[in-house]
């Protein structure tokens, strides 16, 4: 039975709060679905016992007449980049797992157990959500295909030979395959939006500062944001409302009030100006993806949006700029994984302190993480800082100004979410640059720190070399315009001929 977890977040929470369904039953359904979908590699840790205990406590709370929170009994999966007190937290990396017989272990059960919950976890629990497990990801969020996980790939439910995208691949799979009504991901350069697009679900990258990063294992601190994934827009809106808001423990979190995102989903969008940047529709864009996205834009125009072209001339520098700034910050953020205080510790005999550092980090980090730490160390080095890091910061400012100028002309921007639908696992592993270029549409918004989301459009048509695959429309808006993006996305969803999307049954 999946009748409960197939519901939207608001419907399910409403039924549980009203006593028509139990949180325990919803949790059982989710745990069963997770078990059924094991081959998809979505989860690194399943928190079955604690999920059931939490669900029963929520049911008991309701029986005692307490008012339940907005996520009452809703099973939620969380990317394993967020700290969960007492539960393995791995960042998809062997460096956060205890050594097994003197060697690094690809075993998430040996993962580091943090002494605290991330703020987002606290807020989910306070909203009466049920945490069912920790999802697979590219190591430290570094990747676009979930192939950089130390614990195995995650697979796209539309075609298990293909990537679900990344780095929040496990979260996208959990939602797309119907294991949980919603999940939490993190987005540094597109890591919520791109897997949402490739798996056919809704994903939000909130404005930088909208959601607290406290307890999020940092990849690139100036870019990282936590956001929800869900099967429809209003579900994502409700989860975002529960996790957003100021947190005194994150100095970069914004003090701006959180609007009612769910109510925004029914807002009238007629007259809103929708900018379409031609820079995002150039060569390299899969023609069927382009067509699908243009159909959605045309539909929104029919629904009363005013569509007009905008220019984002520095878009072409996005990839280079991102891979300088993000790797620079990562090289520093990952320095704390040194084998001294937590996680993996390998001590080659007679190796001394440098031996400890070297052996631990060599065995603990995967190749992509090492590549990025090396890149980041290089761009910050004496003699190269000005040419790379400082220059990248200057270009970042130009990219931000592109968006500022565009948002003086339009209310939001519509683009494809990725140049292609999900590619085959292994296809780009040997060519990191082609992998990086796949992020070309999501990186600029991350650099600008603005709000973004991905909403499914018509899947590409099945061809000889590939089945029908999801793709998505990316909507971008000025800082703290999530409500506006949700209104437009929900409008599209209401009239979309292919909503709700379901992956084909295996």
């Amino acid at each position: 039975m999946r009748d409960l977890i197939d519901l939207g977040v608001a419907e399910l929470a409403g039924r549980i709060a009203g006593g028509e369904a139990s949180a325990e039953e919803a949790a059982l359904q989710a745990l069963d679905a997770i078990e059924q979908g094991k081959h998809l590699g979505a989860f690194l840790t399943v928190m079955a016992d604690s999920a059931l205990a939490q669900a029963r406590a929520i049911d008991a709370k309701r029986r005692h007449g307490a008012r339940l929170g907005p996520l009452a009994g809703v099973p939620i999966a969380v990317k394993d980049l967020l700290c969960t007190r007492g539960f393995p937290t791995t960042a998809g990396s062997k460096i956060l797992t205890r050594a097994d017989a003197g060697r690094a272990a690809a075993d998430p059960t040996r993962g580091w157990r943090p002494p605290y919950d991330a703020t987002v976890i606290e807020r989910l629990v306070a909203a009466d959500a049920v945490l069912v497990g920790k999802t697979n990801l590219d190591e430290f969020g570094m990747g676009s295909s979930n192939e950089n996980s130390a614990f195995g790939v995650a697979r796209n439910p539309w075609d298990p030979t293909r990537t679900p995208g990344g780095s929040s691949g496990g979260s996208a799979v959990a939602v797309a395959a119907g294991m949980t009504p919603a999940a939490i991901g993190t987005d540094t350069g597109g890591s919520v939006r791109q897997p949402a697009g490739l798996c056919g679900v809704v994903g939000i990258k909130p404005t930088y500062g909208r959601v607290s990063r406290n307890g999020l294992i940092a990849f690139a601190s100036s870019l990282d944001q936590i956001g929800p994934l869900a099967r429809n827009v209003s579900s994502a809106a409700r989860v975002l409302g529960a996790i957003a808001g100021h947190d005194p423990r994150d100095a970069t979190s914004a003090t701006i009030a959180v609007p009612d995102y769910e109510a925004a989903c029914t807002r009238d969008v007629r007259g809103l100006r929708l900018g379409v940047p031609e820079e995002y529709f150039g060569p390299g864009l899969d023609p069927d993806v382009a067509e699908s996205v243009r159909e959605a834009i045309a539909t929104l125009q029919r629904e009363g949006c005013v569509v007009r072209p905008v220019e984002l001339p520095h878009t072409r520098f996005g990839v280079a700029t991102y891979y300088i700034i993000a790797t620079a910050e990562a090289s520093s953020n990952l320095a704390r994984f040194d084998g001294v205080r937590f996680g993996l510790r390998l001590e080659p005999p007679g190796g001394g302190l440098d031996g400890l550092y070297g052996a631990t980090r060599d065995a603990g980090f995967g190749p992509e993480v090492k590549r990025r730490v090396l890149l980041g160390t290089y761009v910050l080095s004496a003699g190269y800082y000005d040419a790379y890091y400082r220059k990248a910061q200057q270009v970042r400012t130009l990219i931000r100004r592109d968006f500022d100028a565009a948002f003086a002309e339009v209310d939001l921007i519509a683009t494809p979410i990725a140049p292609t639908p999900a590619f085959r696992l292994g296809e780009r592993v040997a060519d990191p640059l082609s992998m990086y270029l796949g992020d070309v549409f999501t990186l600029p918004a991350s650099l600008a720190g603005i709000a973004g989301l991905s909403v499914p459009t018509r899947p590409t048509r099945a061809r000889e070399d590939r089945p029908a695959l999801p793709t998505g429309l990316q909507l971008l808006g000025p800082p703290f315009s999530e409500d506006r993006l949700l209104a437009v996305a929900a409008t599209w969803e209401r009239v979309s001929p292919t909503h709700p999307l379901r992956p084909p049954s295996p």
Binding site: A91, L96, Y116, S221, A251, S332, Y389
Partner: protein, 479 residues
């Protein structure tokens, strides 16, 4: 002939700010606790932990920069200084680099009667590292209690020209920080630390020579000694036609020598970049004004005022102004008993003898009120100066009133010539030989008679009066 060299010194001083909690988390800053008892996820650099700036630390840092006449920048940037070491949990130290919160100040102090002004290049905020302890059961262990404690780094200009001047600068800096209540001035516990950059250049040359940085100078004496040793080492190399290698050297106080810690080739590339977990630091004008009001009069200015307006000797002014608690006692006593020289003398002799200092505070045996009352009793002639010292010994460490002690001990000064005259006449009659000696011009013998009177009056007679009485009775006239 050997070239004459000019020594050029610049000090970099780290001062621990006296906040109750650390710079970026609420862990305690208390010194001397059980290792690793003042830690938090932030201190430990656990994944996911984020820094939140301690506002009190900012206030103290601003106060220090203002006391050093620095310009405060409304907007400044925290930066990460990246290097690997077990006492640095995050693998980077949060500091300030390209845009510190304050620059361009100076410090004035006296040296051998002359006023010296030394430039302060910048004052910035940063967090302390923890402490590695080697050889514990064959292991190296780490204590992170100190990790994350707020520091300011005060970068002095290379304006110092001798080791003595460097030590005097360091002392003056300690006095200022202690005065404004941001640092306890304790070099031994490491709450005030000094690195010295030392170079030599031929006299008359404008260009600076190659410098060496000296570390581990944890007393004023070591600052001076280490620089002397380093100047001698560099002089010998240059005299022999060699060149100075830029390096970091450690001072070994037990041997009075320095040795290479890191050569230039081994110097870290710290890969500084702006700390993305902290927004730019904005110091509002209101905070600057509030802190300016707390700076108050600094030791140097106070000393000058005391000498010129109150007539203290420079030496007395120096002693009384070094510690803010002593200065406060002096000024408070003066408010109730406005005789600066007497108050200064009493504090320097009786009061400071029994005083104990604890960082920014000091315990005295008496309050300003007790001291003023006691000095008032002497001035009124109720008791003699000598009796006052007896009373002081009784009231020290208590809150008793000197007046009450005087009446309890039955102390008083007999200053009535009429009542003393018969006693004096009696003594002259009883000691004819001594009386004759005085009449013959041996004035020194007068002391004998005065002493007899003091003995008979239980020291309550006014000695000057007694002296004058004998002079008159023995016909030798007053002095």
């Amino acid at each position: 002939m050997a070239t004459s060299y000019e020594t050029v010194i610049g000090l970099e001083v780290h001062a621990q700010l006296l906040t109750a909690s650390k710079l970026f988390c609420s862990s305690s800053t208390e010194f001397g606790s059980t290792p690793n008892s003042h830690i938090s996820p932030v201190t430990l650099g656990l994944p996911g932990a984020l820094p939140v700036l301690n506002r009190r630390a900012v206030e103290m840092a601003v106060r220090a920069a203002l006391a050093l006449s620095c310009t405060i920048h409304e907007r400044s940037i925290f930066a990460r200084k990246n290097y690997f070491y077990p006492d640095l949990p995050k693998g980077y130290q949060v500091s300030q680099y390209e845009e510190p919160f304050s620059t361009d100040g100076h410090l004035e102090f006296e040296l051998e009667g002359a006023v010296r002004r030394v430039g302060i290049v910048r004052v910035h905020m940063e967090e302390d590292a923890g402490k590695n302890v080697h050889g514990v059961g064959g292991d190296s262990v780490v204590d992170l209690n100190r990790a994350g404690v707020p520091l300011i780094e005060i970068v002095g200009a290379p304006d110092l020209r001798s080791s003595g001047e460097a030590a005097a600068y360091m002392r003056a800096l300690r006095d200022v920080l202690l005065y404004i209540g941001v640092n306890d001035g304790n070099l031994e516990e490491g709450s005030l630390r000094c690195d010295a950059n030392v170079s030599l250049r031929p006299l008359g040359q404008v260009e600076l020579g190659t410098r060496c940085e000296l570390k581990n100078l944890n007393s004023f004496r070591f600052v001076q000694k280490a620089i002397d040793v380093e100047v001698a080492r560099q002089t010998a190399i240059l005299d022999a036609g060699g060149t100075i290698e830029q390096e970091t050297r450690a001072f070994h106080p037990e041997f009075g020598t320095t040795s290479t810690l890191r050569s230039k080739e081994d110097a870290h590339d710290y890969r500084y970049f702006p700390e993305p977990d902290l927004p730019p630091l904005v110091i509002p004008p209101a905070m600057i004004e509030a802190q300016r009001a707390l700076v108050g009069e600094l030791p140097f200015a106070r000393r000058q005022r005391w000498v010129s307006e109150l007539g203290l000797t420079p030496a007395a002014a120096l002693i009384l102004s070094q510690h803010p608690a002593v200065a406060r006692l002096f000024e408070d006593t003066l408010a109730a008993y406005p005789q600066p020289v007497q108050v200064a003398n009493w504090i320097q002799t009786e009061v400071l003898r029994g005083a104990r200092s604890h960082g920014t505070t000091m315990e005295f045996g008496v309050t300003s009120g007790q001291l003023a009352e006691l000095l008032g009793l002497v001035e009124a002639g109720t008791i003699s100066g000598k009796q006052a010292k007896e009373v002081f010994a009784v009231i020290e460490g208590t809150l008793r009133s000197p007046r009450a002690v005087v009446s309890e001990l039955g102390l008083r000064v007999v200053a009535d010539a009429g009542s003393l005259r018969p006693l004096c006449e009696e003594l002259i009659a009883a000691h004819p030989k001594e009386a004759a000696a005085v009449r013959a011009g041996k004035r020194g013998i007068l002391g004998f008679f005065v002493g007899q009177v003091m003995k008979r009056t239980n020291k309550s007679a006014e000695p000057k009066l007694v002296n004058d009485l004998f002079a008159e009775l023995l016909g030798i006239g007053p002095e």
